[in-house]
C-alpha cells in the first residue's frame, strides 16, 4: 500500500509514461495540468486505505451479487448470423478502399 502514500504520487515522467500507454500526445501545458489533477484525485482516492479489505472479494460485476451473468444458459446459441453491411461500415471510416480500412505506414524504419 506504500504506493498510495507520499507527497507527490504522480511525477511529470509518470504523466508522460501513462500518456504513452494511453496513446495520448499531451501538450506541455496539458502535462502540467494533468499532473496536478491526477495528484489531487489520487490524494482523494487514498482514503480508501482507511478500510481493511484484506478479506473482501473484489466485485467486478453486478451479476455476482444478483445471480445470473454471462452463464451458459443466457449466452446466445452458437449460430452464424448476419453482420453489418460492409459498405455502410466503411462509409464511416476516415479512409477506406471498400474492403480494408487504410492507415498510415505501420512499420517504421
Amino acid at each position: 500500500m506504500s504506493l498510495m502514500s507520499g507527497p507527490e504520487r504522480v511525477a511529470a515522467e509518470d504523466v508522460r509514461h501513462v500518456a504513452e500507454l494511453a496513446h495520448l500526445e499531451l501538450t506541455p501545458q496539458e502535462e502540467l495540468r494533468m499532473q496536478r489533477d491526477l495528484n489531487a484525485i489520487l490524494d482523494y482516492v487514498a482514503q480508501l486505505n482507511e478500510l481493511d479489505t484484506a478479506s473482501v472479494t473484489p466485485m467486478t460485476q453486478v451479476a455476482e451479487v444478483i445471480g445470473g451473468g454471462a452463464d451458459a444458459g443466457k449466452l446466445r446459441s452458437d449460430k452464424p448470423r448476419g453482420s453489418l453491411d460492409r459498405k455502410r461500415v466503411m462509409a464511416s471510416a476516415p479512409e477506406a478502399d471498400g474492403t480494408f480500412f487504410k492507415v498510415p505506414k505501420v512499420i517504421e524504419r
Binding site: L3, L24, D37, I41, V45, Q47, E50, V65, F101
Partner: protein
C-alpha cells in the same frame, strides 16, 4: 436571469393515446408542437444536437392513421421522444458529445431505441450530453453546454443534460438518457423532471457507446412518474445482444403505481444528510419524507456506513473501464483522424489528442494509471473490494426497509462555469448517486420542491435489484404531494 420556458403543456403518454384514438391527429399535433418549441428555444437551451423532422412527422402520421385503420395502438403511440447522443440510431449522427465522433453515422440502432420505435414512439432527434457521458454539468460537450430551462445561467446537470432539459422545456414528452454515476438522476433533479436509473441489466446496453461497462445503464426521463414507468416497461427486458442483460421478467410498472406507501418501510440513511448538503435541499427533502410518513409509510433511520468511500471508488472503477472502452477511438474505423500523421502510432496519438476533450483525457489518464503495472492492486482491486462493501451496505439495509429515500444531489443546479476548473468539486455533485451505480440497484429522482430562487430540488428513491415497481410507487406518492 430567470426565464420561464416551462409552459409547453404537452400531453402525457396516456393523453396522447386518447387523442390518437379519438382520431384528432394527436401524434402529429404533439410532434409539431415539440418541433415548434425546439425551433423557439433550442438556440438558447442547446438540448438537441440533431433533428429528424421528416422521419418524426412521417412516423406521427402513421401512428395517427392506425385508428382509422382500426389497428390497436402500441404502448408509446405517437410519443415524441429524444435520444441521448451516446445511443445509436441508424441513419442519425452519434457524436457522444465528442469531436472524435463528429460526422459518424452508425449503421445500426441501439436495442432500447429499437424497442421505442416498435412501440410507436416518434423520434425527434439526438440530445446533447457531456463528452462520452463524462461530466455532471453538460459543460464537457464538444458541441457547447446545455442550459437549464429553469434558469439559463445554470447548468442542467449531467451527463444527460440535454435529455433532462428537453423534457423540462417541453421539447419532448420523454427522452432516453444514460446513468453511470448519476447522469440521469442528477440532471432530473436539476431540471425538475423525473429520471429513472433501472437496475443494472434491466435495459440492454447494445448500441450504447460504452463509458464504464459494469456501471452503464439506459433509462428514461419524463414529466411524470407514470410516463417514466411506461417508457421503462417498453425498453426493459433481456437482449441476446447484451450478455449482461437480465432474463428477469418485466412486470407492468404502472399497474401498482397508485398503491400508495401505507405500511411501506422507507429508510433514511444518515450519511446522505451530513456536511455539504444545501439547507434548502435538506428542508425540501425532509418535508417530503414527512409527507410520506403522513401517507402511512414507516420512516426508519438507517446507516449505509461506507457511503463516504463511494466517490473515490467510483472514480477508480469508472475511469479504469473508460480507459479500456475508449481505446477503440483511434482514427481508423470512424470519426476524426488527424490529418498529417505519417505513421500509424502518430496517427493514433494525434487523432486522440485532437479528438478528445480535457475531461475525457483526464479520465483516460487516471484509468490507465490505476490499471498500469504496479498500481493495479493498490487502486483498481482495492476499489472493487470497496465496491462490494458498498453493495453489502445496501443489501443489509434492504432487509430492514422496502426502499431508501435521500436527496438526489447536494445542491440545486449550480452556475455555468462554477466548477469547470475543479474536477474534484465537480465529482462531488455525484456524491448521493454513485452509490446506487456501484451497487447495481434501481432508483429514481422525482421533483419534491424548489429553492427560494425557484430552482428544482429532487428526491432520490432507491430500491432493491429489480424492484423498480416499489420505486415507482413511492415516486408516485411523492409526485402527488405537490
Amino acid at each position: 436571469m430567470m426565464r420561464q420556458l416551462l409552459e409547453a403543456n404537452l400531453p402525457s403518454i396516456y393523453e396522447l393515446r386518447e387523442g390518437i384514438t379519438s382520431g384528432s391527429g394527436a401524434a402529429s399535433d404533439a410532434t409539431r408542437r415539440c418541433f415548434a418549441r425546439i425551433d423557439e428555444e433550442n438556440s438558447t437551451i442547446n438540448a438537441f444536437l440533431a433533428l429528424d423532422r421528416e422521419g418524426a412527422l412521417g412516423q406521427a402520421e402513421r401512428i395517427d392513421g392506425l385508428t382509422a385503420q382500426g389497428k390497436a395502438l402500441p404502448a408509446l403511440a405517437g410519443t415524441p421522444m429524444g435520444i441521448k447522443d451516446v445511443l445509436t440510431v441508424d441513419g442519425l449522427p452519434a457524436t457522444a458529445g465528442s469531436k472524435i465522433l463528429d460526422g459518424y453515422r452508425p449503421p445500426y440502432t441501439a436495442t432500447a431505441v429499437r424497442k421505442l420505435q416498435a412501440a410507436g414512439a416518434v423520434l425527434l432527434g439526438k440530445l446533447n450530453c457531456d463528452e462520452f457521458a463524462m461530466g455532471s454539468s453538460n459543460e464537457n460537450s464538444a458541441y457547447g453546454p446545455v442550459r437549464n430551462p429553469h434558469a439559463i445561467d445554470r447548468v442542467p446537470g449531467g451527463s444527460s443534460g440535454g435529455s433532462a432539459a428537453a423534457v423540462a422545456a417541453g421539447m419532448a414528452v420523454a427522452t432516453l438518457g444514460t446513468d453511470t454515476g448519476g447522469s440521469i438522476r442528477q440532471p432530473a433533479s436539476f431540471c425538475g423532471v423525473v429520471g429513472v436509473l433501472p437496475t443494472y441489466g434491466r435495459v440492454s446496453r447494445y448500441g450504447l457507446i460504452a463509458f464504464a461497462s459494469s456501471l452503464d445503464r439506459v433509462g428514461p426521463f419524463a414529466a411524470t412518474v407514470r410516463d417514466a414507468a411506461t417508457v421503462l416497461g417498453v425498453i426493459a427486458g433481456h437482449d441476446p445482444l447484451d450478455a449482461t442483460s437480465s432474463p428477469e421478467p418485466v412486470p407492468d410498472y404502472t399497474a401498482t403505481i397508485d398503491s400508495g406507501v401505507a405500511g411501506m418501510r422507507l429508510g433514511v440513511p444518515a450519511e446522505y444528510f451530513g456536511e455539504g448538503l444545501d439547507p434548502e435541499v435538506r428542508a425540501a427533502v425532509e418535508a417530503s419524507i414527512e409527507k410520506l410518513r403522513a401517507a402511512g409509510a414507516e420512516i426508519k433511520p438507517i446507516s449505509l456506513p461506507h457511503t463516504r468511500y463511494a466517490v473515490p471508488t467510483y472514480y477508480v472503477i469508472a475511469t479504469a473501464e473508460a480507459s479500456a472502452n475508449l481505446a477503440r477511438f483511434d482514427g481508423v474505423r470512424y470519426g476524426y483522424r488527424a490529418k498529417d500523421a505519417t505513421t500509424l502510432s502518430a496517427m493514433y496519438r494525434q487523432s486522440r489528442e485532437g479528438g478528445f476533450g480535457a475531461e475525457v483525457k483526464r479520465r483516460i489518464m487516471l484509468g490507465t494509471y490505476v490499471l498500469s503495472a504496479g498500481y493495479y492492486d493498490a487502486y483498481y482491486k482495492k476499489a472493487q473490494q470497496v465496491r462490494r462493501l458498498l453493495t453489502d451496505d445496501f443489501i443489509a439495509a434492504f432487509r430492514e426497509v422496502d426502499a431508501i429515500v435521500t436527496p438526489t444531489a447536494p445542491t440545486p443546479a449550480f452556475k455555468l462555469g462554477e466548477k469547470v476548473d475543479d474536477p474534484m468539486a465537480m465529482y462531488l455533485a455525484d456524491i448521493y448517486t454513485v452509490t446506487a451505480s456501484l451497487a447495481g440497484i434501481c432508483g429514481i429522482s422525482v421533483p419534491c420542491g424548489e429553492s427560494r430562487e425557484g430552482l428544482p430540488i429532487g428526491l432520490q428513491i432507491l430500491g432493491k435489484h429489480f424492484d423498480e415497481k416499489t420505486v415507482f410507487r413511492v415516486g408516485q406518492a411523492v409526485e402527488k404531494q405537490r
